[in-house]
Symmetry: C2
Subunit: 183 residues, 2 copies
Amino acid sequence: MTKALNTREKLLFHGRRLLWARGYSPVSLRQIAKAADVDVALISRYFGGKMGLFDATLADAFDDPSALAKSPEQLMDLMTQLFVTAPRGGETPSVVRMILSNAHDDDVGEKVRNLTHEKFYAPLLAIIGCPARTALFMSVLLGISVVEKTIKLPDYPAPSTATYEAQLRHMMQAALSYSGETQ
Amino acid sequence: MTKALNTREKLLFHGRRLLWARGYSPVSLRQIAKAADVDVALISRYFGGKMGLFDATLADAFDDPSALAKSPEQLMDLMTQLFVTAPRGGETPSVVRMILSNAHDDDVGEKVRNLTHEKFYAPLLAIIGCPARTALFMSVLLGISVVEKTIKLPDYPAPSTATYEAQLRHMMQAALSYSGETQ
DNA sequence: TTAGGTTGTCAACAAGTGTTGACATATCTC
DNA sequence: GAGATATGTCAACACTTGTTGACAACCTAA
């Protein structure tokens, strides 16, 4: 039993690592199995198939930001902490990376977009209050992640943590202070 | 000869449409051929293979922004025009969408990232001057595109053109006015 | 030990991939 | 017209994909 849990967790770990970073369709079960040093057939046994494994990697993700933040200021603190500390250099890709890699996939795109809306946009909207500002706020988080992680600019060295945090806060502030047409 | 040009252009059109929107690996040559109403084998004949077709779709893209803009203000005007008018609702996906869909692909990711840097980031840097502000500027363009096109939020209606333009300018202004550590 | 359930291994499957070459048909040049 | 070239059609190739079932190895309980 303990051994089975072990291989299950290994598959979950490498499945999340690969499927989140590179996307659902491009990554094959054999690649995941090889990375986990486990037979391919065991994926279908434990998770019922490729989709089952992907769903399992999504199960405990998307911690609700609204559970921890009550004001835009607290939200900025939380996001800063989330973006600056956790995902930088970590082996497990961030949720943002998962969204960017899978939001357009033929098989899982709709599911991912719905999940993003339900567990990410909706809680943010509850705190921020205005749809336009919420969308801008999300675009800041996603955009900065794209530039830093998705598009690795050769001659743009990774900024220091302090610099990165300053840039992030500057842009979040701008998003939250948007006061034009809020449709 | 005219007929060959016709099928070549049909393949190029649908190839760009599908490969840019959904990414290189997930889209098969048979899907493209079917969309273009052309035999699969002709892709390899005319373009030498899948990679050749992809390269062909990239050939005339990435018009150099620096050729038209000389100051950050002109750049903002240009980008506003580019983002607000051209790609909204168009059948051919935008270059931004192409970047987001392909920057991580195993086969074409490096090529796309290099191209992005060479034809997109470098010209922007030449105008803006500061790497940090340039990166933030890019993150605005990419981030807003992600939220609007990559992630289609069900209850976030597409903003009017005027609203969209106002939001875009607001965020670009914020990126260009960043005055923190510029490393 | 025996019986039973869990866990892992292996081979095969149907379907889909990019690519190639043989062949047929059309189009143009002389 | 005849010959040559361009263009399209079709079948097959080697390979990879996700999935399944048969079988062996292991551990636990009676």
